[in-house]
Structures are given as C-alpha cells and as structure tokens.
C-alpha cells in the first residue's frame, strides 16, 4: 500500500499549550477511505479534527497530507491544501443567503471557477437551489448540514473532515446525510468523521478509531470494532454513555 492520504503522528495539543486535551494521537486515512472516530465524551475526538484544521494548537507531533507536512498550517490555508472541514455547530452563516454562503466558500478561486463550482453544488444538492436567495437561518438542521457539506466540497478537496454530521438531526435525516457521505466516498473523496451515533457510523465507514481520554484505544475495520466487546467497556469505563 502506498503512503496514506492523511497521516497523524503522535499529536499532542489543546486550546491552551499548558493544558493538552489530546496526548499523542496517531491515525491514518487512506485515499477514498471513510474513517470514523468514536469514543466517550472528552475523548478528544473533535479536538483532534480541530488540531488538524489548525484551530487547536499542536504542541508536538506531525500532520502529513500526501506526505506534505501541514502541521500548524493556518486554518485559512487548509482549503488550498485540499482538506475541507465541516464544524459541528454554527457551520453555516445564518445572516447570509445560501448563495452567499457558497460564495464565501468559493472566494479563494477565480470568479468564473467559483460560479461554475456553485452551479455544480446546486446540481449535487438540488434542494438548496430553491432557497438560494433565502437567508440560511430559515434552513432546517438537515438542510444546514447539506449546505455545510456543499460548501466544503466547492474546492474539490481530497479529504473532508466532519464533526458529528448527524448531531441534532432526525433519524430520517441522519440516514440521508450518511447516504450522501457514502456517495461522496464512492466519487473518490476520503472522509474522516467524528460521530456520537456510533452504530450508524460503524455501519457505513471502512475503519474506526476508538479514543478515550485523549489517547488511541482500539482501531480496526468498522465491522470488527462493532463486534468488539471492549468498545462498550471503554464507553462505560470512562464514565461516558453508550449511544
């Protein structure tokens, strides 16, 4: 196997340099692979994704994308490095229209390219087109998630990182969002996502990492993780709650 697309090596970091939340986490994501991170609350799942995205400070360790060192890349340069990040909450601009939300996401490209990519986003997510001149605050939770994903895809990233894409969605919406993510992987994009909805995430992803207290605990093919009795004990042992 060739070098993985994303390689995270012993990353230590947190919001404050003197207060690390993740204590040396490593993981890899291959090309066109869907990888899930699960774990009890406070395991450092979201923090790791934010560290890769340059939002959380990395004190030691390395992040490589296709062999290129992107550790401590400023957040705004991430899109240029072919990574897109979809935050869990406040992932759309509610005071801007749908079209403006997409325009912000495409503002680093030349204008004709931006216009073309936005049209393509509407083809992929036709539901958004009907609302293009409406403020994003009128959208439902599921529609917002679609808009956030559509925005992330504008720059044709090789890797999309999602922080709990199913949070706050109805079961019906959850399966639709996951269906979309599956199609995305089939189209050649790699996905790294954090999920509380462990069952659904395990069902669609290739590999899964289980974190606890800022460290790697178990990882492997999702099917094996789903059948592993130790996973439940990690959730319970850390005082978390299995969902």
């Amino acid at each position: 196997m060739s070098a993985p697309l994303l390689q995270v090596e012993n990353v230590v970091g947190g919001y404050r340099p003197d207060l690390p939340i993740i204590h040396g986490i490593s993981l890899t994501v291959g090309e066109k692979e869907m990888v899930t991170i699960i774990g009890p609350n406070g395991a450092g799942k979201s923090t790791l994704i934010k560290a890769i995205a340059g939002i959380v400070h990395i004190t030691s360790g390395r992040v490589l994308l296709a062999g290129r060192d992107i550790t401590r890349f400023p957040t705004h340069k991430l899109a240029g490095a072919s990574i897109a990040y979809v935050p869990q909450t406040n992932n759309v601009f509610t005071t801007l229209t749908i079209n403006e939300n997409l325009a912000v996401g495409a503002s680093s490209m030349p204008k004709p390219d931006a216009a073309r990519q936005i049209e393509r986003a509407y083809e992929t997510f036709p539901a958004l087109k009907d609302y293009r001149h409406k403020k994003a605050r009128v959208l439902s939770g599921g529609q917002r998630q679609m808009l956030a994903v559509a925005r992330a895809l504008l720059t044709d990233p090789q890797l999309v990182m999602l922080d709990e894409p199913s949070a706050g969605l109805s079961p019906l919406m959850v399966s639709e969002v996951f269906q979309r993510l599956k199609q995305l992987v089939e189209s050649g994009v790699a996905i790294l996502m954090v999920e509380q909805n462990a069952k659904a995430a395990l069902a669609i992803s290739h590999r899964t990492y289980v974190f606890a207290e800022g460290r790697n605990r178990i990882d492997g093919p999702s099917q094996a993780i789903a059948d592993n009795p130790e996973v439940a004990s990690i959730y319970l042992g850390a005082g978390g709650r299995k969902r």
């Binding site: 705004h76 240029g80 801007l96």
Partner: protein, 301 residues
C-alpha cells in the same frame, strides 16, 4: 422648527458617517473602540494640514466655500487616518487581542483616544480653526428653512457614501467576507479566507469614513481638538440605536440622534444638548437592547 429639523438632519448625517465606521469595526472586531471618535478629529486636522501645504491654489467652486484642494485634502486625510488606524491596531490592539478579558481592549482604546487627542492638541493648538474664511449665503429652500450650499453638499455626499457602501457590502467579495467575519470568524477562516486581511480592510474603510466625517464637521462647524470628545457619545448612541454591525441602522441612528439634539434645543436650554444622546441611548437600551434594527454587518433586512 423646520430650520431645527434641517440642522438636525445635517449634523445627523455627519454623525451617521462616523457611526458607520464605528458600527463596522465594532461588529467585525468585536469590541467598543472608544478611539474611533478621535479618528474623526484626526481626519479633520490631517485635511487642514494638507491644505496648509497645498494652499488654496484654486478658487472655490461656486456655490461652495471650498474647491478641489479640500476634496484632494480629504482624500489624503482619509488615507492618513487609515494609516493611523492600522498603526493603532498593530501597536496596541493586536498584542491585546489574545487577552481573555475583552475589557482590556476597551480600556486600551480609551488610552489611545487620549493620546491621539493630545497629539492633535500639540500639533495644531487648541484654538478653533477653519478650512476657509469664505462667507456663504444660506439658500432658502422652504419658507423658514435656509441651508448653506456646503450643508447641502454634506447631505448628498453622505447619501452617496451610504449607497456605495451598501453595494460594496452586498456585491463584492471583500464586502461578503466582512459580513461573514462579523457573524463567525472561525467559520470564515475555515472557508479559506485570511481574516487578518479582512480586518485590515475594515480598519481602512472605517477610518476613511471617520476622516470624511471629520472633514465635513470641520467644513460645516469648525475644527477643534475636542471634536472627537463631543462626538463620542452621539456616535455610540447612533450605533447602539441601529444595532451593532448594521450599516443602515447606523445611518438611521445617526439621523435620529442629530435631529433629536437639534429639536431638543427648542424645548430645553442649549447647554443640555449634549445630554440628549445619553437619554436616547438609555431609552433604547431599556426598550430594545439589541437596537432598533438588530443585526450583523450589512443588514438591510
């Protein structure tokens, strides 16, 4: 009565220009910049300094009291005020920005405002000054209402700037980035926008508008080092009235404050004029703490 209304609209439009800059920087940079009013004074005096160098080499354009030199001076003053704002941001606010306590920035801006005022006092002295000694004849517009041509110019320039700024915020990429930044800085960066650049442009635009506001104040009233001190309260009242970050709201807020000040003189002694913005501010904060048109940057709803 009618005359007071006209005067109020005039001073209101000058307050509005200053308030637009303040509401933009407050909405986007997320702190109450008390030094903003000093940028108005600075702009007014920079134009005077430029005029002092170039001289009134061309006569005034009838019917106004000023000519090309003042317009040129205003443009240069806007540039110099933008430079001052960028320097203040770099020297004072940038090191303080990472402080967990937001009040640190606010107090920092207090210090900056005193410093700028004293520098102006040192450079230009405390006496009132004028751009031009030309006497103007007020033109009767309606029965009982006379307006100076310069005042008319001020009004139309304000309208033009507000319309221009509206299109800028709605139609350009930078305007869009500014509105995005006002709502969610982190998401703006996630979208691939270097927010430091957007912040710098916000200062440039806010400071330029402050400078133009100062020049218009100097043109229609007079130049004094206390311009900023006199304007600070009306500016904040206008911004809060219109909702922080709302450009259109700042304009309406500025007009309300200007008109209220002017009309108040008809009923209360002129000495209390300065208290009027205070009363309006308190009333608005009591009834609608988020302002009449609460919203973020660019918000014409």
């Amino acid at each position: 009565m009618l005359q007071a209304l006209a005067d109020g609209i005039l001073s209101g439009s000058i307050i509005a220009l200053g308030a637009i800059g303040l509401t933009l920087t407050m909405g986007i940079l997320r702190f109450a910049n008390f030094a903003h009013a000093e940028l108005v004074t600075w702009g007014a005096y920079m134009a005077l300094a430029v005029l002092g160098i170039t001289g009134a080499f061309l006569g005034p354009i009838a019917p106004f009291s000023f000519g090309i030199p003042l317009i040129l001076a205003a443009v240069i003053a806007a540039g110099l005020t933008a430079l001052l704002a960028l320097a203040i941001d770099w020297l004072v606010y940038r090191p303080l920005r990472n402080q967990t306590n937001h009040l640190t920035l606010v107090f920092g801006s207090f210090g900056v405002s005193l410093l700028v005022r004293m520098v102006i006092l040192l450079m230009f002295g405390g006496a009132a000054q004028y751009y031009s000694r030309t006497l103007q004849i007020a033109v009767p517009v309606l029965p009982g209402m006379r307006i100076l041509p310069d005042q008319m110019f001020t009004l139309f320039l304000t309208i033009a700037i507000v319309v221009g700024l509206h299109f800028f915020l709605q139609k350009t990429r930078l305007g869009l980035a500014m509105r995005a930044l006002a709502e969610n800085p982190e998401l703006t960066r996630v979208n691939g926008i270097d927010t430091r650049t957007v912040v710098r442009w916000t200062w440039v635009i806010g400071a330029s508008l402050a400078a133009i506001s100062g020049v218009l104040y100097g043109l229609t009233v007079q130049l004094r080092p206390e311009i900023g001190f006199l304007l600070i309260l009306p500016l904040f009242a206008a911004v809060i009235l219109g909702g922080v970050g709302n450009v259109f709201g700042a304009v309406v807020g500025g007009l309300i404050v200007g008109i209220a000040e002017s009309l108040a003189v008809l009923v209360v002694p002129a000495g209390y004029k300065m208290a009027i913005p205070f009363v309006i501010l308190l009333a608005v904060l009591y009834v609608r703490p988020t302002g009449i048109f609460s919203g973020t940057v660019g918000g014409v709803k």
